[in-house]
Symmetry: C2
Subunit: 460 residues, 2 copies
């Protein structure tokens, strides 16, 4: 037996039967996330933790052997943050799915493997709401949401994951379990370590429990759908309405996206135009005015057609079309998914530049956006069997990152850096902030065993 | 000349005339903040920075001589976070007060010496609003607000400072200037250093510019004022309404506070009862229902009188009475100001326990609270000329901290740890989290020159 297999045997014997997967067939499922990183390694084992204690045992084992640890939620990450490291350990939190709602404290206390949708459902039973809603909310886990500080469609009015995290239990790099925050709404005692762990993509610790803030249930929204001859015009409308109202959803689909979605699941969308979907959940009385302002902003920006419905189910169909953008693109071929963002006033420039990059590089780029936040998801389509197409797609991907940085934006608004964008991070942050990131990483994970190669380069 | 005075002369000559104060008379004003820390030292100099460059020069000078640096905004801090260190350098940001509003990006870009109230005013000119509103908003600076992650009265619905900080320029411990974040709404590129600096009380860096998120102007609120025979009953009403509605303000004054405020500025408040002030800024249509729910919660909890006004100016008078609580207490004698918080459902237990502690220790404790957040400000009154009274007050102060910790709460909800509560922090956080705090501090300020003794103990 090799040293590593002796060590794995030790791990297997220190945890209950069925917790540690070690066969290649079982491990295959834990190698990649949705980013399908071709460089993902084969882990030596996967601990499917059923309790914080299992996570602690696993991390202590890894620390004692100097073995890299990749934590994993539902595996729906889009930037390779959960790509396995060759010979490393994967800790999957998929089995930790307990949910407890405390309606008086207006909190949910949930384990990290819980799906986002299940938190929403449990909260709704008490007339409460957990707002953050990644497009993948039905299949993504809270642990992953916390790890990436996930956003979604309602962020434009209701904020992102970090705005709802009141407490975290975290297993540190040496296996200690700490509890940060709790059910208290305001707390400034000590450094904001809680907020530091949110968005740390498993590089500083492994979340084993989250206390999430809930708010009263959202009112059924009204929906406005507007079509535009150009994606820039649609973006102009977004900027204009954003100066005056807080819509509860402002989503943009460019013409190529509309066509992909129509190919995938025909809904009768106008294939010749870009589409803006805007919702208002303002209370009756204020809603009419808010919808009127949104409509005026669309018309002033040159909308071709405007359709308004106060029927929530009808509105949800358009939102569903938007949510299908990514599956539709996946069905259409190989793709590189972007997540770039800019200050809202620069959204028209960004979407126009993305369109231009597609032309320049000779690749199809479809673009959907959480437009109200200036956060866009250009999707670069390519033919994986054609090296030239692949190379052009990669060039377009890089061009889009560069364009976002040049516009004062970010290379990732909500998906995280992971492994996919690690090499682009220095260009965005610069050497000083990269060094600070590394210093904080080193302070909390001196051995460098937590998710090495994600966000920051692994130790040589 | 001593080594230190040679060094100070060097500092003076490296900055424009009038920037560096060195005389004891001029320095006296920079020794303390509102916590009036009796242990505050006499600094060797105060740099009244007029630009980020001045801050960098000053920090580089301090770093090269190993001299402690205490950053200072408006000096309105309540926990001794800006107490000068004997022989150290104070860097005052009071002269850096530029404000720039970007209505399209819905941001304010402000220098740290800007008063909170001035940001609100500048935003209002564009129909926009900067929500965080410490009671001291007219005289506290944004730099201090960021340093303490300040709260206020509207937090119960609109969140605290960190929820509005999109970007920070920070001078690091070695004098480098970095820019974190910016006008982009969503950004998850790299660790959440931005959020780490918020609330770090000047121990990790010195903020020289903040980009703050603005939202559309608040509607004029309706106000409900309810009186209760006991502070516990008032707190019960808070818990009940919090399960159903998001009031825009939920403030509590116990009977002794009402009496102190009446003594200070007679307004005809009912001296025999605890007072709850609740506001709703819900749009017309939803407001009536929200106010009805609030009123029902008060009546169910046993309110004696309920008064409702939809006149914003009349409502503001009650809010003003609440804002006078601290000045009224100051006028009534020496005081120790608390800032403890608990999960909202435990608010009734906390306020009852605070009352009991006053009785047990034989001291007057008046209590106001941002009740909707579970954040209370018990104020322990004492006679500074009487050592026994002083000792009993300190004992009551410590009892209240212990009570908050025992209830799963925090020793500080919004004022910060500073020097006043530094020794209580380990009891709340425990050794593991204290160690993490120290590791992060050491990573970002290896020399330990930034605000030593605030939050964490100074290096020996």
């Amino acid at each position: 037996m090799t040293d590593r297999s002796v060590a794995v045997a030790e791990l297997v014997s220190s945890l209950p039967a069925g917790v540690v997967a070690t066969t290649p067939e079982a491990l295959e499922k834990y190698r990649q996330d949705w980013a399908k990183d071709p460089d993902a390694g084969m882990p030596c084992a996967c601990v499917r933790a059923e309790s914080p204690d299992h996570v602690q045992v696993a991390v202590r084992w890894a620390a004692s052997h100097g073995i890299p640890v990749v934590p994993r939620g539902a595996g729906s990450g889009l930037s390779g943050g959960a790509s396995a490291v060759e010979g490393g350990l994967v800790i999957s939190l998929e089995r930790m799915t307990a949910i407890e709602i405390d309606p008086a404290a207006r909190c949910a206390v949930v384990e990290p493997g819980t799906f986002n949708a299940d938190v929403k459902k449990a909260a709704a039973e008490h007339g409460l709401w957990y707002p953050p809603d990644p497009s993948s909310f039905e299949i993504c886990s809270i642990g992953g949401n916390v790890a990436t500080n996930a956003g979604g469609l309602c962020c434009v009015k209701y904020g992102v994951t970090t705005d709802y995290v009141l407490g975290l239990d975290v297993v540190l790099a040496d296996g200690r379990l700490i509890t940060l925050g709790g059910k208290r709404i305001k707390d400034v005692a000590g450094l904001s370590l809680l907020k530091l762990f949110v968005g740390s993509e498993g590089t500083l610790g492994i979340v084993t429990r989250a206390t999430l803030r809930l708010i009263p249930a959202q009112l059924a929204p009204s929906t406005l759908v507007a079509t535009f001859d150009s994606v820039r015009a649609a973006a102009d409308a977004v900027v204009a309405m954003g100066r005056v109202v807080r819509a509860s959803m402002v989503e943009l689909m460019d013409k190529p996206t509309v066509n992909q979605v129509e190919d995938f699941a025909p809904m009768g969308l106008d294939r010749d135009r870009a589409l803006l979907i805007v919702q208002s959940d303002a209370p009756e009385g204020a809603r009419e005015q808010e919808m009127a302002i949104i409509e005026m902003a669309c018309r002033d920006a040159g909308s071709v057609d405007v359709f308004v419905t106060h029927d929530a189910a009808e509105g949800a169909q358009f939102v569903q079309a938007r949510r299908l953008a990514f599956p539709a693109a996946e069905a259409a071929g190989s793709l590189l998914l972007e997540d770039v963002g800019v200050p809202v006033p620069l959204l028209p420039d960004l979407v126009a530049r993305v369109e231009q990059i597609g032309v320049e590089r000779g690749v199809d780029v479809v673009c959907v956006a959480h437009a109200g936040d200036g956060n866009t998801h250009p999707i670069v389509m390519y033919d994986a069997a054609d090296p030239d197409s692949t190379q052009r797609a990669r060039a377009a991907f890089d061009d889009i990152l560069t364009a976002a940085i040049e516009l004062g934006g970010t290379i990732t608004g909500e998906h995280g850096v992971g492994r996919l964008k690690r090499d682009a991070l220095p260009a965005m942050l610069g050497p000083d902030i990269m060094e600070l990131n590394q210093r904080v990483k080193d302070a909390l994970d001196p051995q460098g065993i937590l998710n090495p190669g994600s966000v920051l380069a692994a130790r040589p």
